[in-house]
Structures are given as C-alpha cells and as structure tokens.
Symmetry: C2
Subunit: 369 residues, 2 copies
C-alpha cells in the first residue's frame, strides 16, 4: 500500500505528507496553507483522534477522509506534521519516526531535547539536518511571533539581553480559546454599565472561563500555561529557553511576562532588546525591511503600526514602533505582531516540512536562509 | 459672597473645594469619591464648560448645579481640582491660583514645570509644600498605575532601570473612549467568523474609531497620545519623565511601550525593574504587603494575579506576578493593575486635596507618608 501511495500514483515522486491533528485550530490553518502554497507534496494524509476520524476535510480542493491515529497511518509517510497536545506527541512522534517519517512537531514535548533541533527557517535552517531522533521541533507560538525579527537583528548586532511583554490571542489556547472569547464577547455586548465595578465582568460572563483562568472579554489576564518555580509561567520559560536555543545564545538573559488579551488570533509583543554593538536606526530599518518573513510597518506619523486586526491572516511578522533607547544606544524598543496560527504554528511547520520535501526530491536543494 | 461661603455657612471652618471638569469621566468618579471618603470639605462647587453648565449632579447626597467656568467661580475657593484638557488647565489654573486657590491639576500642562510639584501622596507627600505657582500637578494615569509600587521598592533597594509595557484601558481616552469601546464590542458581538482575516474587525467596526487610531474591540493598539521625536509617543515620554520626577531620580533609565487594550477601565503594566541592591523576594513581598496604597495579590498556584475585571472600582494598586530575574538578582518582574480613573486620576487628586485641606484646618497635620 505504501509503495503505491508513495509517489507512484499521487505525486510523481513527490513525498508523502501526514498531518496529525488535522481537525484542530492549527490544523485548519495548515490545510489552508497546503492548499495555497506551492504544492510539493504527493499524497497528503489527514490524521486525528478517533473521535474526529471519518470527517471529510478539504485540502488542495479535494475532500479527504480523516484517519484515526494508528501506527499504520505512518506507513510510507516521508514527513509527518504533529499539531497535537504534548502527551500525544510524546507518545506518537517516536512511533512515526520509527516508521521512517521525519516528524515536524509543534508541541512542547521535544523542543528542549538536545537531540531535537528547534527550527525557524529564516533564522537557523541548517539545523534541520541535525535530527538524530528523526524529529524536528517547531517553536512555541509566542517565541515564533518575535524570533524572526530578533534573529535578523542578532546577525547584525549580537543580541545581549531581552525583556518582553506579550499580548497573546485567545487562539493560542486552541479552538476552545476562540469559542470562549466569542461566547464572552456576546455576553458582555450591550451591557454598557459593566467594566466600572469589580466583579461586573465575572458576573456577566459566568463560570465558564474555558481554558483561561479569568474572564477574557473586556479584560487582560497575566497568565498562560502552568506554574513553574519562582512564580514563572511555563509560557514565559518557553520564550526564554526557546529564544536561547534558536538564536544559539545559551546564556542570553531573557525576562518575559506573558499576558492573554481579548484578541481572537495574532500574538503581539513589546520588546526591549539590548545588543553588543551600538545601533544605527537607519540600518536597523534596512535590515528589517530586507529580511525574509518580516514586514516593517512603522510610520507612526501616519498612524501605521502593527495591530492584530491588520496582521491576522498574513504570513510575515509585522514590526513597528521602532525606538532607540534614550539612555543606551545599544537598546531598541519595538512592537511586533504575528499570526500565531500561521507563522506562530502552521506556517513555520509548513516551511520546515518544505525544506524536508526538497531533500526527498531529485532536484532537492539544501536548505538555505 | 466668598466670605459667607467660606466656612461660615457650609463648612464650620472647613475649606471650600472647586471641582473643575465635574461632568467628565474622571469628574464622575471624583463625585463618587467625595461622597464616600471622609468629608473634609465645606462647600463643594462644581464647574464645567458652558455647554454642561446648569446640569444637576449629586455629591454627598445633595444635588448641586454645575457652574460655567469663569473667574468668579474661584472666589473664596481654597482648593481647586482641575480635570480638563491641557489647554483649559494652562489657561485657567493660573487664574484660579491668582484668586487664592491652591490648584491640583490633572492635565499634562504643568507636570514637568520645575515650579510645580508632581505629587503622589504615598511617594513624595512633602512636595506639596513646594508650590511657588500655587499649582500642584497630578501625574498621568499610566505613571500613577505603577508608581506607588515602584516608590515602595525604591525606598528599600534604589531603582536603577525601568522597562515597562502597558495595557491601557479605553477610559484613559475619556468618556469618548469608553463609548467607542462599548459601541465596537456591540458591533463585533455575534460575528463568530471575525478575527481570523485581516480587515474583518475594521469592516465590522466601521470608520468611527472614536479617539483611537485603530479598532479597539478584539484588538490591541500600540499607541497612546501624540508623536514625539524618535518615534516615541507622548504617553511613553510621560511615563519616563514623570517617573523620574516623582521618584527624584532625574537620570533614571526608563523605556516604556504604551499599548491600548479593549478594557473599559483599569490600566495594567508589565514591569521590569532593576535595583542597585540585590533583591530578597521575601522582603519584597513584605514591603509590598505593608505599604499603603498597595494590594499584594500574588498566589499564582491559586490563579491569583491582578486582572482589570477584579481591580476596577477599587482604590489600591494591585501587584502580582512577582518574579526575581533568573539572570540578575537585582532585577524584578511584576504585573500591576490600577483603576486609571481612581488612583490613576480622581483618587490621587482627592488625596492631594485632602493633604491641602489639612493645611486649612486648625488641627492641620503636616503631610506624612
């Protein structure tokens, strides 16, 4: 079966792709991307939990039936993308790899594994070759929403210190997060008196907070993930640890505060970055303008700066509000926004998978920046 | 007339207060505060623009007619609170002062004037005596939402550097900001498809953005105020300059990024602060727990951290998410929230006015921390 599927019928030598978690929030965006990006794939196999199996989803204009996750799913698969909870990836990614697939995993299960590269194609594409476990990790969406911009500036100026505060969208918590925000917005709408007394929003929103620890409509919630030592959230430590690993600066000082905001999709970050070399703001603009994956959108006199409402659904990281510190010419402030379901998840995964696809084709070109 | 009003009839020796801008968003909260705080005032005179004059507002349980702003309004006034636009304060505060009133001004007109103290009663109360112009300035609401916490820690550890990112509420832009947010939330409610494609929110919200440069519902907007040199917003420079002046550290490095969020009332800030001395987190907690004007709310294992929905309508600055830096023991991260119409505006003004009232009464006590 696998030999038939592999290249001969579906793809004239093109590699077979499996999308595990095809029915989730990131999976939905992935199917859009696979339908609109240059098509490098032979068969595309869609896989989900047994609960979602049998559903028909559209990819590349064709309906495809979702298969239940099983060992057999990975027969003949060249690249397997995983967009599933950590524990599902931890159990199943090694099985897919043992079957011969290269896994691109978007969970947190393998990101800090020394034998698993953590890859952002604009920043460290060559790392995809160092994959002794047959697994490549996709970074956390918050890290991904800023790391392309930081990577470009790091190459020129050498990053020295990072302080970030995030403005994270509901969809970072998956479809349940999106649904919860829509439900809460519908409840608070029309209540023009709320938001002025403590408890108003909690009373109107009710007890169903979905995946969030507090109401999100008309509120901001300084928490994402689970509690770690020292009062840090797991999300804040991911930003720290993943930034260090992707940039290859193991001792980079990083302090993050992660905050959920009532935005459906697109994470933003206020970034304070210090570099080893003094910054030339004109050169900084040139770098950000010319680097792949970035959109410099920084004309405050025309009120142009990134906001999620403009960024959502687009591929690049938007960079704006550039300001050189008034105290230290090595320090830069900026505000970046990126679609957390696209570059923050599905797009980066697709980009890594496409680098791998090139390995499987006869005209394969080594991954380059 | 002024002699009759002053003490003899209304207040048995208690000073006369004028509230200029009584009909605005801050004015409304001020009337609530004046009705619920310990009553130190004789007559309370309510003043607004000619457009709002004649309205009846309730303060201390009594209806009071709003007077149109004029020189005569200030006859016999001991303390005049101004909650009006900068240009109105610039023109009228000196007139009120010339009439003998001590002005407490909540505009930006005088805050950086060397002859005008910028006062936060928990931080620098003694400064109210240095008022050669007869004017005392109330800080910007964003500065006020964090400065009590920073002031308390500065006394113990000496603040060395400050990086902040704000999550500012719509009411920071006045009643028009509040109305705009309610209107936009009503428009986006029920549209469960929006927030996933660029332009969705703009299309549904329409052209009426109120005082904001972009839609605020289901969005965050990295802009507040007007454009200054170097790409900084006026709001960001206020946070910098006012923090330096209030804390008495004229060369303190401060970098702020100010961002509007879809919250009705209560500003929050993610704060990265470096001190001269190494921090003892247990002692930091004690200081924050025991200092006036602060509420330590930092039990993340019980999901306790400040959110605007819980903080709005309360007096203190709520402090949570305390984390000592993993890289430098002199650095602290925290998340603070304060009601921008109360401590951020009306409450701080009322506190300053009460310190002044004590000067006017026979049992006046010098302002102390």
């Amino acid at each position: 079966m696998s030999d038939v599927r592999r290249g001969d019928v579906a793809g004239q030598g093109q590699p077979t792709l499996a999308v595990v978690g095809a029915t989730g929030a990131v999976g939905s965006v992935m199917l859009q991307l696979l339908s609109t990006r240059q098509d490098v794939w032979g068969e595309i196999r869609l896989i989900a939990s047994a609960r979602s199996a049998g559903r028909l989803l559209t990819v590349r204009g064709e309906e495809v039936e979702v298969l239940p996750l099983s060992e057999e799913c990975f027969e003949g698969v060249d690249v397997a993308m995983f967009d599933v909870p950590d524990e599902v990836s931890a159990a199943w990614a090694p099985i897919a790899a043992a079957k011969g697939a290269v896994v691109v995993d978007n969970s947190g299960a393998f990101r800090m594994d020394d034998d698993v590269p953590l890859v952002v194609p604009e920043v460290n594409p060559a790392e995809i070759r160092n994959r002794p476990r047959g697994i490549i990790a996709n970074p956390n969406c918050t890290t991904l929403s800023m790391i392309v911009a930081l990577g470009a500036l790091h190459r020129a100026y050498v990053l020295d210190k990072l302080v970030v505060a995030s403005y994270q969208a509901a969809s970072g918590a998956g479809q349940a997060g999106i649904d919860t925000l829509y439900d809460q917005v519908a409840k608070v709408a029309g209540h023009r008196e709320i938001g002025t007394q403590a408890g108003d929003v909690r009373r109107i929103v009710g007890d169903d907070l979905g995946p969030f620890p507090a109401p999100l409509a008309l509120n901001v919630v300084p928490w994402a993930g689970s509690l770690r030592d020292g009062g840090w959230s797991s999300e804040e430590l991911k930003v720290r640890n993943e930034s260090r690993k992707i940039l290859g600066i193991p001792d980079l000082p990083v302090s993050a505060t992660c905050v959920r905001v009532p935005v459906v999709t697109t994470h933003s970050l206020a970034i304070h970055a210090r570099f080893e070399r003094e910054l030339d703001l004109g050169e900084v603009r040139e770098i950000l303008r010319d680097s792949p994956g970035l959109l410099l959108y920084d004309e405050p006199e025309r009120l142009e700066f990134p906001t999620p409402a403009d960024v959502v659904g687009t591929d690049p990281t938007w960079v704006g509000r550039l300001r050189q510190s008034l105290d230290d010419p090595r320090e830069l402030e900026m505000f970046v926004s990126g679609d957390n379901l696209r570059k923050g998840a599905a797009l980066n995964t697709a980009q890594i998978a496409e680098l791998l696809a090139a390995e499987f084709t006869s005209d394969g070109v080594a991954a380059e920046d």
